[in-house]
Point group: C2
Chain length 241, copies 2
Amino acid sequence: MYKDTNIRSLVKGFSWRLVATTTTIIIVYIFFGRLDLAIAAGALEWVAKITLYWAHERAWFKIRWGRKKIEPFNLWLTGLPLSGKTTIADAVYQELQKLDIPLERIDSKDIRELIPNIGFTRQERNAHMHRIGHLIKTLQNNSVSTVASFVSPYRESRKAIREMVKNNVVVYVKADLQTCQERDYKGVYEKALRGELENFSGINDVYEEPQHAEIIIESDTVSVEEAVKIIVKFIEKNYVK
Amino acid sequence: MYKDTNIRSLVKGFSWRLVATTTTIIIVYIFFGRLDLAIAAGALEWVAKITLYWAHERAWFKIRWGRKKIEPFNLWLTGLPLSGKTTIADAVYQELQKLDIPLERIDSKDIRELIPNIGFTRQERNAHMHRIGHLIKTLQNNSVSTVASFVSPYRESRKAIREMVKNNVVVYVKADLQTCQERDYKGVYEKALRGELENFSGINDVYEEPQHAEIIIESDTVSVEEAVKIIVKFIEKNYVK
């Protein structure tokens, strides 16, 4: 959040004076046909009004009326491990920062310091999602929008998030299980297939596809740049006017 | 966070015009001594400048220069159970909201939904405090100030908070152990004395008094209203100018 500094009000006053006094000189000249008097009147006006303008500016700075609270949104990227959620979310976050709105990136990695992930069973995952929902709600209460990326494989936890937060935008990052496995640079699919990872979405636990996603990105065929464009366009159209 | 609506810019333009055109009419009258022409010039000026002013206002709305990011602070109230932390923090929060800054209240009760409190041993308490520090940091990154009230009995965890967050203001709510016990409407001291509560600060666990508190409130003798005044004055002087 920002506030107007005193120097900003002063410089803004100066820039307005240039526009306004020039107009006054022209008007007085039209009426009286005497350029010398028109300029003298303009000079007097300049001195009187630069102070008045500044005072007017500071007074309005204290008036709350006509200031609209910015509506926060939550972008929620869901999809299989290695479907491309994090890459897309990072790029979207970077692009949205240009809009100069309060914005926070939330990722399973970043969240670990804040909310301990107790486990990966269905119940534990749901409890974890509920806590993340609370975090987003807390941020939204302060006009902060969020870009969140989580596997979030269960419909019920995504539904809980939707009910907790405002302006929820689900982005389903859709990729073939096979594609994700081929991308397995972390070696997590391999581990899961060997049975070393329990409750791994797509292998030994379900991933329930979203049925009401606002945006679907087929990451097999859509590039990261294109995905960013689609998502940012949606946000600009619906939430940042 | 707020943004200026279009209607605000228009009404602001109208209010400025009243001030400015009156000044113009007076100036023209002084120079030419003809009230009829002065009013006619004023009328022309009114029409021309009300549009110019609006355009100028919207243009400046897009200029970032001279907008200062609001510096967030963290008020951290520490003290024995029932020393009066929560009561004072609630009242301070209410008063600070009038300053029209992004502000969040953080309390052990509120935090439970967000961060599971795993236990009350020294190590578990410290880990919990660390997570709360991360929450405050996340909020501060988005210009949100915080009013936090926690027993926070250990020096090391208070120090960790101080190192993690910006503009940390420790308020030590100081009350005699005896006073707190007499206020024991929750019956927690009684329980702790009967040995039913473990690691209860002041009874069977230490409360390490802060040595670098910015503010000390002796809640035995200082009223809630006075405490609020002291704390709000400190914040206004140091962080909200």
